[in-house]
Symmetry: C2
Subunit: 335 residues, 2 copies
């Protein structure tokens, strides 16, 4: 049995969908023991379920709140109370679809970094033409240094190998040309570190090739990673919206699109981030899974599945070992 | 009459499509006097056309060649010979769909920067749900400083006002949150400069909102701009490819998609970068238009139209004045 804490108030559609997702997960995963974290009035009705307990947290960090402010003024909010449970060792993993900045800030402050880790990073799974791949960092940091990116690669490597069973994943650096030496200072310096490592380093990958699925891990600074992620979401929506507009202009188009609806549906399922179960925050002392703010019950259930894997395999601990194994002396690294 | 130089050998489908595009442009723009730059055997048949002359350049810079190497070893290539014509004042604008790195490097070396400009930048037009918008810098620079980004905004502003007749365009900084103070060091410092300026500054824009068309100009470092651009192209292709795959699996889907074909076509036309006529390199001493490597005849024709506008309005000269008007003393700027 593994004890997983769930931030019941996290996400745009909480607490309804978080609780629904929790119910699904309890049915599907017999090893799951759930610790619901949230206001008493919200979680009380669920406390009679088997394998469920509750920890009351009356405050909520809203999606647009400043993480720093929240951490100062709302220490009793579900995000921070959940992280406290990890810290105390009472829960073995924590899932939140809430304010991701607050989850990152709270994790840094309450759990702290794994020994040797300079900065934790968010590892997001993205659909491609082949297998899903990991984009790291998806937005935990800005202004990263070469050694940070190198550590992101080490952590994502272990994550894909251990949790997704993909041995020796191909690791690429996001850049503006495939040739070695193309890129900014950060990419050029990180390239040296990855080349000299034992990782399966592929070289640079361009923006155009991310979704082709030729590599398993794309490494970049969190500023760029977050922009890429949101740009992709926005562009996909825009393309579908533009298509819809055109289709509305003729009955024939409408008919055609309704006939092709199944294809659109299958396509949507294949590219559905909800299937992947949230993005782990790698590098902190504890197993933290950040779920998308727009998570529905399916996404929450899958995030809980991933949290369960993290707990079972004691991933945070394994990450610490990997970081130590891949340690490079400071003086050999540009800053 | 305006004399525009065209790199006949530039682009993946040169010289056929460049010459075809040139022919279209000559028909459509009576003020156009074309200077074809390329190998004698290629351009000789066109020299009997009215309003056409040729300058022979026997060498070609290939698409994957290192710009620095090319500049050293192939000074007689069409890109550099075309830029020489601008430098001498023989042509008033230059269009190339060739190796864009070589066009940038050649422009810097042969033409030089406008007085006061620290770095030239590529301004690319992108489709949105509303009007097309400008992304600057699309890849001329990496590791830009705050004052560089500020100057990119000044130049793109004049470009949209003058060439596209859009008064007081809304200018945004690409970042990872809309709130002031969200972003990396570069964004935070550039924010101060834009806030204090007379430009119509909107604040931050997130990756997700670029294609909504709420702003007219999106400013970012060329490393990020280039990644965004290529990511967008790649993702759009991937989405259509995935859809096709699904559609092939059922006759009904196929039928549906063929009925909806007109909608897809209209959609494609609306998002067609070829309509916009290439991306100007702003900030060098001369009117340089970089066309997409995959340009077809339509794209070349539209790039020539834009070059004509640049020549007529003497845009390079106007940019120099704008940069001087918006000058900020060095000591007030973070680096």
């Amino acid at each position: 049995m593994y004890r997983i804490a769930l931030d019941v108030m996290g996400g745009d559609f909480a607490p309804q969908v978080t609780l629904e997702g929790a119910t699904f997960a309890l049915k599907s995963f017999p090893e799951l023991h759930l610790v619901l974290v949230g206001p008493q009035r919200v979680i009380a009705p669920f406390l009679t379920y088997p394998r469920v307990e509750g920890i009351f947290a009356e405050e909520v960090v809203y999606m647009d709140e400043s993480p720093g402010e929240a951490l100062k003024k709302k220490r009793g909010a579900s995000i921070f109370v959940g992280l406290d449970l990890l810290k105390k060792g009472y829960a073995q993993a924590f899932v939140s679809a809430g304010n991701s900045g607050a989850v990152v800030a709270g994790s840094m402050f309450i759990l702290g970094r794994l020994t040797g880790v300079r900065r934790p990073a968010i590892a997001t799974l993205l659909p491609t033409l082949r297998e899903p791949m990991v984009l790291i960092d998806a937005g935990a940091n800005v202004d990263s240094k070469p050694y940070d990116l190198y550590q992101f690669a080490v952590m994502a490597n272990l994550f894909l190998e251990t949790i997704w069973g993909r041995p020796q994943p191909k690791i690429a650096l996001l850049s503006i040309g495939e040739e070695i030496g193309k890129g900014n200072f950060l990419v050029k310096e990180t390239h040296k570190l990855l080349s000299a490592s034992s990782l399966n380093y592929y070289g640079n990958i361009e923006g155009r090739d991310i979704y082709r699925g030729e590599v398993d891990i794309v490494v970049c600074d969190g500023f760029i990673g977050n922009i890429c992620l949101k740009l992709s979401e926005g562009l996909a929506e825009t393309i579908l919206e533009m298509l819809k507009k055109e289709v509305k202009e003729s009955f024939l188009y409408l008919l055609g699109m309704s006939l092709a609806k199944g294809a659109l549906k299958a396509f949507k399922k294949k590219t559905d981030w909800r299937e992947y179960g949230g993005a782990p925050l790698l590098g902190v002392k504890g197993n933290v899974i950040i779920s998308h703010g727009k998570s529905d019950a399916l996404a929450i259930k899958n995030a809980l599945r991933q949290a369960l894997h993290f707990a079972k395999l004691d991933l945070a601990n394994q990450l610490e070992k990997a970081i130590q194994q891949h340690h490079i002396e400071e003086e050999e690294v540009a800053d």
